[in-house]
Symmetry: C3
Subunit: 161 residues, 3 copies
Protein backbone atom coordinates (compact mmCIF):
# COMPACT_ATOMS: atom_id res chain seq x y z
CA UNK A 1 0.00 0.00 0.00
CA UNK A 2 1.20 3.43 -0.89
CA UNK A 3 -0.74 5.16 1.87
CA UNK A 4 1.30 6.88 4.55
CA UNK A 5 0.11 5.42 7.86
CA UNK A 6 -0.45 8.94 9.15
CA UNK A 7 -3.15 9.51 6.59
CA UNK A 8 -5.11 6.28 6.93
CA UNK A 9 -8.06 8.28 8.23
CA UNK A 10 -8.09 10.80 5.42
CA UNK A 11 -9.53 10.94 1.93
CA UNK A 12 -6.08 10.02 0.61
CA UNK A 13 -6.88 6.44 1.65
CA UNK A 14 -9.24 4.61 -0.70
CA UNK A 15 -10.14 2.04 1.94
CA UNK A 16 -11.39 4.82 4.20
CA UNK A 17 -13.44 6.30 1.36
CA UNK A 18 -15.09 2.95 0.72
CA UNK A 19 -15.78 2.61 4.44
CA UNK A 20 -17.31 6.10 4.56
CA UNK A 21 -19.62 5.20 1.68
CA UNK A 22 -20.94 1.95 3.11
CA UNK A 23 -21.08 3.30 6.66
CA UNK A 24 -23.45 6.05 5.53
CA UNK A 25 -25.48 3.57 3.46
CA UNK A 26 -26.08 1.24 6.40
CA UNK A 27 -26.87 4.15 8.74
CA UNK A 28 -29.45 5.35 6.21
CA UNK A 29 -30.95 1.85 6.05
CA UNK A 30 -31.17 1.78 9.84
CA UNK A 31 -32.74 5.25 9.98
CA UNK A 32 -35.28 4.25 7.34
CA UNK A 33 -36.77 1.94 9.97
CA UNK A 34 -37.36 4.89 12.33
CA UNK A 35 -39.36 6.65 9.66
CA UNK A 36 -41.14 3.46 8.63
CA UNK A 37 -42.19 2.89 12.26
CA UNK A 38 -43.52 6.46 12.53
CA UNK A 39 -45.34 6.11 9.23
CA UNK A 40 -46.92 2.79 10.30
CA UNK A 41 -47.94 4.19 13.69
CA UNK A 42 -49.46 7.35 12.24
CA UNK A 43 -51.26 5.76 9.29
CA UNK A 44 -52.79 3.07 11.53
CA UNK A 45 -53.13 5.25 14.64
CA UNK A 46 -51.13 2.74 16.70
CA UNK A 47 -49.37 4.77 19.36
CA UNK A 48 -47.41 3.83 22.45
CA UNK A 49 -47.76 7.18 24.24
CA UNK A 50 -50.87 8.80 25.61
CA UNK A 51 -49.94 12.25 24.24
CA UNK A 52 -49.67 10.87 20.68
CA UNK A 53 -53.46 10.61 20.56
CA UNK A 54 -53.72 14.35 21.15
CA UNK A 55 -54.80 16.05 24.38
CA UNK A 56 -58.43 16.29 23.29
CA UNK A 57 -58.65 12.50 22.89
CA UNK A 58 -60.40 10.84 25.87
CA UNK A 59 -57.91 9.62 28.49
CA UNK A 60 -59.54 6.21 29.01
CA UNK A 61 -59.91 5.46 25.33
CA UNK A 62 -56.25 6.31 24.70
CA UNK A 63 -55.16 3.93 27.47
CA UNK A 64 -57.34 1.15 26.09
CA UNK A 65 -55.95 1.61 22.60
CA UNK A 66 -52.34 1.62 23.84
CA UNK A 67 -53.03 -1.60 25.75
CA UNK A 68 -54.82 -3.32 22.88
CA UNK A 69 -52.11 -2.44 20.36
CA UNK A 70 -49.17 -3.61 22.47
CA UNK A 71 -48.80 -6.84 20.53
CA UNK A 72 -49.64 -5.38 17.13
CA UNK A 73 -47.51 -7.12 14.54
CA UNK A 74 -47.57 -4.27 12.04
CA UNK A 75 -45.44 -2.18 14.40
CA UNK A 76 -43.70 -4.91 16.38
CA UNK A 77 -42.21 -6.59 13.34
CA UNK A 78 -40.52 -3.33 12.35
CA UNK A 79 -39.34 -2.81 15.94
CA UNK A 80 -37.76 -6.28 16.06
CA UNK A 81 -36.06 -5.63 12.73
CA UNK A 82 -34.82 -2.29 14.05
CA UNK A 83 -33.56 -3.85 17.28
CA UNK A 84 -31.61 -6.39 15.27
CA UNK A 85 -30.01 -3.48 13.41
CA UNK A 86 -29.08 -1.86 16.72
CA UNK A 87 -27.41 -5.10 17.77
CA UNK A 88 -25.38 -5.36 14.58
CA UNK A 89 -24.89 -2.07 12.75
CA UNK A 90 -23.15 0.08 15.42
CA UNK A 91 -20.80 -2.88 16.06
CA UNK A 92 -19.97 -3.02 12.34
CA UNK A 93 -19.56 0.75 12.11
CA UNK A 94 -16.94 0.77 14.86
CA UNK A 95 -15.11 -2.41 13.90
CA UNK A 96 -15.17 -1.38 10.24
CA UNK A 97 -13.69 2.00 11.15
CA UNK A 98 -10.96 0.40 13.26
CA UNK A 99 -10.26 -2.08 10.47
CA UNK A 100 -8.95 0.86 8.41
CA UNK A 101 -6.14 1.25 10.96
CA UNK A 102 -4.54 -2.10 10.12
CA UNK A 103 -4.30 -0.98 6.50
CA UNK A 104 -6.00 -3.94 4.78
CA UNK A 105 -5.75 -4.38 1.02
CA UNK A 106 -8.41 -2.26 -0.74
CA UNK A 107 -9.90 -5.36 -2.36
CA UNK A 108 -10.31 -7.28 0.91
CA UNK A 109 -11.66 -4.27 2.77
CA UNK A 110 -14.10 -3.35 0.01
CA UNK A 111 -15.46 -6.90 -0.07
CA UNK A 112 -16.00 -6.81 3.71
CA UNK A 113 -17.89 -3.53 3.60
CA UNK A 114 -19.90 -4.47 0.52
CA UNK A 115 -20.93 -7.89 1.80
CA UNK A 116 -21.97 -6.48 5.18
CA UNK A 117 -24.11 -3.76 3.58
CA UNK A 118 -25.72 -6.23 1.16
CA UNK A 119 -26.39 -8.71 3.99
CA UNK A 120 -28.11 -6.08 6.15
CA UNK A 121 -30.23 -4.70 3.32
CA UNK A 122 -31.27 -8.26 2.54
CA UNK A 123 -31.94 -8.96 6.23
CA UNK A 124 -34.25 -5.96 6.33
CA UNK A 125 -36.25 -7.03 3.27
CA UNK A 126 -36.39 -10.62 4.56
CA UNK A 127 -37.71 -9.39 7.92
CA UNK A 128 -40.30 -6.94 6.65
CA UNK A 129 -41.94 -8.89 3.80
CA UNK A 130 -41.27 -11.49 5.36
CA UNK A 131 -39.34 -13.98 3.22
CA UNK A 132 -39.38 -17.63 4.37
CA UNK A 133 -36.57 -18.64 6.67
CA UNK A 134 -33.62 -19.13 6.51
CA UNK A 135 -33.52 -15.86 4.50
CA UNK A 136 -33.43 -13.58 7.52
CA UNK A 137 -31.08 -15.89 9.41
CA UNK A 138 -28.74 -15.82 6.41
CA UNK A 139 -28.73 -12.02 6.27
CA UNK A 140 -27.96 -11.80 9.97
CA UNK A 141 -25.28 -14.50 9.90
CA UNK A 142 -23.40 -13.16 6.89
CA UNK A 143 -23.33 -9.68 8.42
CA UNK A 144 -22.09 -11.02 11.75
CA UNK A 145 -19.36 -13.07 10.03
CA UNK A 146 -18.06 -9.94 8.28
CA UNK A 147 -17.81 -8.05 11.59
CA UNK A 148 -16.14 -11.04 13.28
CA UNK A 149 -13.70 -11.42 10.38
CA UNK A 150 -12.61 -7.79 10.68
CA UNK A 151 -12.39 -8.09 14.46
CA UNK A 152 -10.18 -11.18 14.26
CA UNK A 153 -7.88 -9.48 11.74
CA UNK A 154 -7.57 -6.46 14.06
CA UNK A 155 -6.73 -8.64 17.06
CA UNK A 156 -4.14 -10.57 15.04
CA UNK A 157 -2.53 -7.35 13.90
CA UNK A 158 -2.43 -5.38 17.11
CA UNK A 159 -3.52 -7.32 20.23
CA UNK A 160 -2.01 -5.32 23.11
CA UNK A 161 -3.56 -5.98 26.50
Amino acid sequence: MAVDTKSLYSLENDVFKVYLTYAVLVVFKMMFLSFYTSFTRISNKIFANREDYGWTYPEEKAKQKIESYKGDERVNRILRCHLNDLENIPAFLIVGLLYVAINPSPYTATMHYRIFAAARYFHCVAYLLPLPQPSRALGFTVGAIVTISMGVQILRAVATF
Copy 2:
Protein backbone atom coordinates in the same frame (compact mmCIF):
# COMPACT_ATOMS: atom_id res chain seq x y z
CA MET B 1 -9.25 25.65 5.60
CA ALA B 2 -5.75 25.75 6.99
CA VAL B 3 -5.90 22.27 8.49
CA ASP B 4 -3.51 19.73 7.01
CA THR B 5 -5.68 16.78 5.96
CA LYS B 6 -3.39 14.47 7.90
CA SER B 7 -4.38 16.11 11.15
CA LEU B 8 -8.14 16.25 10.72
CA TYR B 9 -8.54 13.82 13.60
CA SER B 10 -6.33 15.77 16.00
CA LEU B 11 -6.83 18.67 18.36
CA GLU B 12 -5.30 20.93 15.71
CA ASN B 13 -8.66 20.76 13.94
CA ASP B 14 -11.36 22.94 15.49
CA VAL B 15 -14.16 20.98 13.83
CA PHE B 16 -12.94 17.84 15.55
CA LYS B 17 -12.82 19.62 18.90
CA VAL B 18 -16.40 20.79 18.49
CA TYR B 19 -17.41 17.25 17.53
CA LEU B 20 -15.64 15.85 20.62
CA THR B 21 -17.53 18.27 22.83
CA TYR B 22 -21.01 17.54 21.50
CA ALA B 23 -20.35 13.81 21.14
CA VAL B 24 -19.58 13.60 24.86
CA LEU B 25 -22.59 15.77 25.71
CA VAL B 26 -25.04 13.54 23.85
CA VAL B 27 -23.46 10.38 25.27
CA PHE B 28 -23.90 11.84 28.76
CA LYS B 29 -27.54 12.61 27.98
CA MET B 30 -28.06 9.04 26.81
CA MET B 31 -26.35 7.63 29.89
CA PHE B 32 -28.47 9.81 32.14
CA LEU B 33 -31.42 7.65 31.07
CA SER B 34 -29.69 4.50 32.36
CA PHE B 35 -29.33 6.08 35.78
CA TYR B 36 -32.82 7.53 35.68
CA THR B 37 -34.24 4.07 34.91
CA SER B 38 -32.30 2.53 37.81
CA PHE B 39 -33.42 5.32 40.13
CA THR B 40 -37.08 4.89 39.09
CA ARG B 41 -36.91 1.12 39.48
CA ILE B 42 -35.27 1.26 42.90
CA SER B 43 -37.36 4.07 44.38
CA ASN B 44 -40.60 2.38 43.25
CA LYS B 45 -39.37 -1.20 43.67
CA ILE B 46 -40.26 -2.01 40.04
CA PHE B 47 -37.83 -4.67 38.96
CA ALA B 48 -37.61 -6.87 35.89
CA ASN B 49 -35.37 -9.53 37.43
CA ARG B 50 -36.15 -11.95 40.22
CA GLU B 51 -32.75 -11.41 41.90
CA ASP B 52 -33.37 -7.66 42.13
CA TYR B 53 -35.92 -8.29 44.90
CA GLY B 54 -33.22 -9.92 47.01
CA TRP B 55 -32.83 -13.65 47.67
CA THR B 56 -34.82 -13.50 50.91
CA TYR B 57 -37.87 -12.12 49.08
CA PRO B 58 -40.51 -14.84 48.44
CA GLU B 59 -40.14 -16.41 45.00
CA GLU B 60 -43.86 -16.31 44.13
CA LYS B 61 -44.34 -12.73 45.25
CA ALA B 62 -41.36 -11.59 43.18
CA LYS B 63 -42.76 -13.29 40.08
CA GLN B 64 -46.17 -11.69 40.62
CA LYS B 65 -44.64 -8.25 41.02
CA ILE B 66 -42.51 -8.64 37.89
CA GLU B 67 -45.59 -9.69 35.95
CA SER B 68 -47.82 -6.91 37.30
CA TYR B 69 -45.24 -4.20 36.62
CA LYS B 70 -44.51 -5.21 33.04
CA GLY B 71 -46.62 -2.42 31.60
CA ASP B 72 -45.71 0.19 34.22
CA GLU B 73 -45.53 3.55 32.52
CA ARG B 74 -43.12 5.09 35.03
CA VAL B 75 -40.38 2.77 33.79
CA ASN B 76 -41.61 2.03 30.27
CA ARG B 77 -41.73 5.68 29.24
CA ILE B 78 -38.06 6.07 30.13
CA LEU B 79 -37.24 2.83 28.30
CA ARG B 80 -38.98 4.03 25.13
CA CYS B 81 -37.13 7.34 25.35
CA HIS B 82 -33.86 5.45 25.84
CA LEU B 83 -34.58 3.13 22.89
CA ASN B 84 -35.18 6.15 20.70
CA ASP B 85 -31.75 7.42 21.76
CA LEU B 86 -30.20 4.09 20.84
CA GLU B 87 -31.78 4.37 17.40
CA ASN B 88 -30.45 7.87 16.82
CA ILE B 89 -27.42 8.77 18.91
CA PRO B 90 -24.90 6.08 17.90
CA ALA B 91 -25.80 6.80 14.24
CA PHE B 92 -25.08 10.51 14.82
CA LEU B 93 -21.86 9.77 16.71
CA ILE B 94 -20.46 7.75 13.81
CA VAL B 95 -21.71 9.94 10.97
CA GLY B 96 -20.63 13.07 12.86
CA LEU B 97 -17.16 11.60 13.31
CA LEU B 98 -16.89 10.67 9.63
CA TYR B 99 -18.15 14.14 8.68
CA VAL B 100 -14.88 15.54 10.06
CA ALA B 101 -13.04 13.64 7.29
CA ILE B 102 -14.58 15.71 4.49
CA ASN B 103 -13.26 18.85 6.17
CA PRO B 104 -16.48 20.90 6.37
CA SER B 105 -16.35 24.59 7.24
CA PRO B 106 -16.19 25.07 11.02
CA TYR B 107 -19.40 27.09 10.97
CA THR B 108 -21.42 24.49 9.07
CA ALA B 109 -20.07 21.64 11.14
CA THR B 110 -20.63 23.41 14.45
CA MET B 111 -24.24 24.16 13.51
CA HIS B 112 -24.84 20.50 12.65
CA TYR B 113 -23.44 19.27 15.97
CA ARG B 114 -25.15 21.97 18.01
CA ILE B 115 -28.56 21.49 16.43
CA PHE B 116 -28.40 17.71 16.84
CA ALA B 117 -27.47 17.99 20.53
CA ALA B 118 -30.18 20.58 21.18
CA ALA B 119 -32.77 18.49 19.34
CA ARG B 120 -31.97 15.36 21.36
CA TYR B 121 -31.96 17.16 24.70
CA PHE B 122 -35.32 18.64 23.76
CA HIS B 123 -36.61 15.23 22.61
CA CYS B 124 -35.70 13.81 25.99
CA VAL B 125 -37.50 16.54 27.95
CA ALA B 126 -40.51 16.29 25.62
CA TYR B 127 -40.65 12.52 26.14
CA LEU B 128 -40.24 12.45 29.89
CA LEU B 129 -42.52 15.29 31.02
CA PRO B 130 -44.27 14.73 28.52
CA LEU B 131 -44.84 17.83 26.40
CA PRO B 132 -47.81 17.76 24.01
CA GLN B 133 -47.06 16.51 20.52
CA PRO B 134 -45.59 17.43 18.08
CA SER B 135 -42.81 18.43 20.52
CA ARG B 136 -41.25 14.98 20.70
CA ALA B 137 -41.75 14.38 16.98
CA LEU B 138 -39.99 17.68 16.30
CA GLY B 139 -37.00 16.75 18.47
CA PHE B 140 -36.67 13.41 16.74
CA THR B 141 -37.10 14.80 13.23
CA VAL B 142 -34.64 17.66 13.58
CA GLY B 143 -32.02 15.27 14.97
CA ALA B 144 -32.58 12.82 12.13
CA ILE B 145 -32.33 15.57 9.51
CA VAL B 146 -28.93 16.63 10.90
CA THR B 147 -27.60 13.08 10.62
CA ILE B 148 -29.03 12.69 7.12
CA SER B 149 -27.57 16.05 6.06
CA MET B 150 -24.08 15.01 7.19
CA GLY B 151 -24.51 11.59 5.55
CA VAL B 152 -25.52 13.12 2.23
CA GLN B 153 -22.56 15.51 2.30
CA ILE B 154 -20.22 12.58 2.97
CA LEU B 155 -21.65 10.56 0.07
CA ARG B 156 -21.37 13.56 -2.26
CA ALA B 157 -17.75 14.09 -1.26
CA VAL B 158 -16.43 10.54 -1.35
CA ALA B 159 -18.90 7.94 -2.68
CA THR B 160 -16.65 5.01 -3.70
CA PHE B 161 -18.41 1.66 -4.06
Copy 3:
Protein backbone atom coordinates in the same frame (compact mmCIF):
# COMPACT_ATOMS: atom_id res chain seq x y z
CA MET C 1 4.46 11.12 25.16
CA ALA C 2 6.62 10.68 22.11
CA VAL C 3 3.69 10.20 19.75
CA ASP C 4 3.31 12.82 17.03
CA THR C 5 -0.25 14.13 17.38
CA LYS C 6 -0.77 13.46 13.69
CA SER C 7 -0.39 9.74 14.23
CA LEU C 8 -2.58 9.27 17.29
CA TYR C 9 -4.96 7.16 15.22
CA SER C 10 -2.29 4.86 13.83
CA LEU C 11 -0.52 1.74 15.02
CA GLU C 12 2.41 3.95 16.04
CA ASN C 13 0.35 4.90 19.11
CA ASP C 14 0.24 2.25 21.83
CA VAL C 15 -2.88 3.74 23.41
CA PHE C 16 -4.74 3.27 20.13
CA LYS C 17 -3.55 -0.33 19.90
CA VAL C 18 -4.84 -1.06 23.40
CA TYR C 19 -8.13 0.60 22.49
CA LEU C 20 -8.38 -1.51 19.32
CA THR C 21 -7.87 -4.67 21.35
CA TYR C 22 -10.48 -3.99 24.00
CA ALA C 23 -12.93 -2.47 21.52
CA VAL C 24 -12.95 -5.72 19.55
CA LEU C 25 -13.20 -7.80 22.75
CA VAL C 26 -16.30 -5.96 23.98
CA VAL C 27 -17.90 -6.08 20.53
CA PHE C 28 -17.33 -9.84 20.48
CA LYS C 29 -18.91 -10.11 23.93
CA MET C 30 -21.93 -8.14 22.72
CA MET C 31 -22.22 -10.25 19.58
CA PHE C 32 -22.04 -13.44 21.63
CA LEU C 33 -25.46 -12.48 23.01
CA SER C 34 -26.96 -12.43 19.51
CA PHE C 35 -25.79 -15.98 18.94
CA TYR C 36 -26.82 -17.06 22.42
CA THR C 37 -30.32 -15.69 21.81
CA SER C 38 -30.58 -17.57 18.50
CA PHE C 39 -29.30 -20.74 20.12
CA THR C 40 -31.81 -20.46 22.99
CA ARG C 41 -34.68 -19.74 20.61
CA ILE C 42 -33.85 -22.62 18.28
CA SER C 43 -33.08 -25.25 20.93
CA ASN C 44 -36.32 -24.43 22.82
CA LYS C 45 -38.38 -23.54 19.72
CA ILE C 46 -39.25 -20.14 21.19
CA PHE C 47 -39.71 -17.84 18.23
CA ALA C 48 -41.03 -14.32 17.88
CA ASN C 49 -41.86 -14.53 14.18
CA ARG C 50 -44.46 -16.62 12.45
CA GLU C 51 -42.10 -17.63 9.62
CA ASP C 52 -39.56 -19.02 12.11
CA TYR C 53 -41.87 -21.98 12.72
CA GLY C 54 -41.66 -22.89 9.04
CA TRP C 55 -44.39 -22.42 6.45
CA THR C 56 -45.78 -25.94 6.92
CA TYR C 57 -46.44 -25.26 10.62
CA PRO C 58 -50.15 -24.48 11.29
CA GLU C 59 -50.83 -20.72 11.32
CA GLU C 60 -52.98 -20.76 14.47
CA LYS C 61 -50.58 -22.90 16.47
CA ALA C 62 -47.67 -20.63 15.56
CA LYS C 63 -49.60 -17.58 16.74
CA GLN C 64 -50.52 -19.27 20.01
CA LYS C 65 -46.92 -20.26 20.65
CA ILE C 66 -45.62 -16.77 19.90
CA GLU C 67 -48.19 -15.33 22.31
CA SER C 68 -47.53 -17.85 25.07
CA TYR C 69 -43.75 -17.42 24.88
CA LYS C 70 -43.78 -13.62 25.00
CA GLY C 71 -42.79 -13.52 28.65
CA ASP C 72 -40.42 -16.49 28.51
CA GLU C 73 -37.53 -15.79 30.85
CA ARG C 74 -35.04 -18.03 29.04
CA VAL C 75 -35.07 -15.64 26.10
CA ASN C 76 -36.09 -12.41 27.82
CA ARG C 77 -33.23 -12.47 30.30
CA ILE C 78 -30.73 -12.61 27.44
CA LEU C 79 -32.59 -9.82 25.64
CA ARG C 80 -32.46 -7.57 28.71
CA CYS C 81 -28.75 -8.27 29.10
CA HIS C 82 -28.25 -7.50 25.42
CA LEU C 83 -30.25 -4.27 25.66
CA ASN C 84 -28.07 -3.17 28.56
CA ASP C 85 -25.04 -3.78 26.32
CA LEU C 86 -26.61 -1.64 23.59
CA GLU C 87 -27.08 1.14 26.13
CA ASN C 88 -23.46 1.01 27.29
CA ILE C 89 -21.06 -0.55 24.79
CA PRO C 90 -21.52 1.70 21.73
CA ALA C 91 -21.19 4.72 24.07
CA PHE C 92 -17.91 3.32 25.42
CA LEU C 93 -16.65 2.46 21.93
CA ILE C 94 -17.11 6.04 20.73
CA VAL C 95 -15.94 7.82 23.88
CA GLY C 96 -12.99 5.42 24.19
CA LEU C 97 -12.02 6.15 20.60
CA LEU C 98 -12.26 9.91 21.12
CA TYR C 99 -10.28 9.59 24.33
CA VAL C 100 -7.25 8.63 22.19
CA ALA C 101 -7.36 12.13 20.70
CA ILE C 102 -6.46 13.84 23.97
CA ASN C 103 -3.33 11.69 24.16
CA PRO C 104 -3.75 10.23 27.69
CA SER C 105 -0.87 8.42 29.34
CA PRO C 106 -0.73 4.79 28.20
CA TYR C 107 -1.12 3.56 31.78
CA THR C 108 -4.25 5.63 32.48
CA ALA C 109 -5.82 4.78 29.15
CA THR C 110 -5.06 1.08 29.44
CA MET C 111 -6.62 0.95 32.89
CA HIS C 112 -9.78 2.63 31.58
CA TYR C 113 -10.15 0.19 28.70
CA ARG C 114 -9.29 -2.86 30.80
CA ILE C 115 -11.65 -2.00 33.64
CA PHE C 116 -14.52 -1.30 31.26
CA ALA C 117 -14.04 -4.61 29.46
CA ALA C 118 -13.75 -6.54 32.73
CA ALA C 119 -16.84 -4.81 34.14
CA ARG C 120 -18.96 -5.65 31.09
CA TYR C 121 -17.83 -9.29 30.95
CA PHE C 122 -18.68 -9.54 34.64
CA HIS C 123 -22.03 -7.80 34.08
CA CYS C 124 -22.89 -10.37 31.43
CA VAL C 125 -22.04 -13.35 33.65
CA ALA C 126 -23.90 -11.77 36.59
CA TYR C 127 -26.97 -11.23 34.40
CA LEU C 128 -27.09 -14.64 32.76
CA LEU C 129 -26.39 -16.97 35.69
CA PRO C 130 -27.70 -14.84 37.56
CA LEU C 131 -25.45 -13.85 40.44
CA PRO C 132 -27.13 -12.25 43.46
CA GLN C 133 -27.35 -8.48 43.39
CA PRO C 134 -25.49 -6.14 43.65
CA SER C 135 -23.22 -8.09 41.27
CA ARG C 136 -24.94 -6.97 38.10
CA ALA C 137 -25.41 -3.42 39.42
CA LEU C 138 -21.69 -3.31 40.17
CA GLY C 139 -20.74 -4.44 36.66
CA PHE C 140 -23.01 -1.83 35.12
CA THR C 141 -21.88 0.99 37.44
CA VAL C 142 -18.15 0.40 37.06
CA GLY C 143 -18.52 0.33 33.28
CA ALA C 144 -20.53 3.54 33.29
CA ILE C 145 -17.99 5.29 35.54
CA VAL C 146 -15.18 4.45 33.11
CA THR C 147 -17.10 5.98 30.20
CA ILE C 148 -17.99 9.05 32.25
CA SER C 149 -14.38 9.44 33.40
CA MET C 150 -13.13 9.43 29.81
CA GLY C 151 -15.92 11.82 28.79
CA VAL C 152 -15.06 14.29 31.54
CA GLN C 153 -11.38 14.22 30.62
CA ILE C 154 -12.27 14.90 26.97
CA LEU C 155 -14.48 17.84 27.92
CA ARG C 156 -11.79 19.27 30.19
CA ALA C 157 -9.19 18.99 27.44
CA VAL C 158 -11.13 20.32 24.47
CA ALA C 159 -14.57 21.76 25.33
CA THR C 160 -15.38 23.98 22.31
CA PHE C 161 -19.03 24.89 21.90
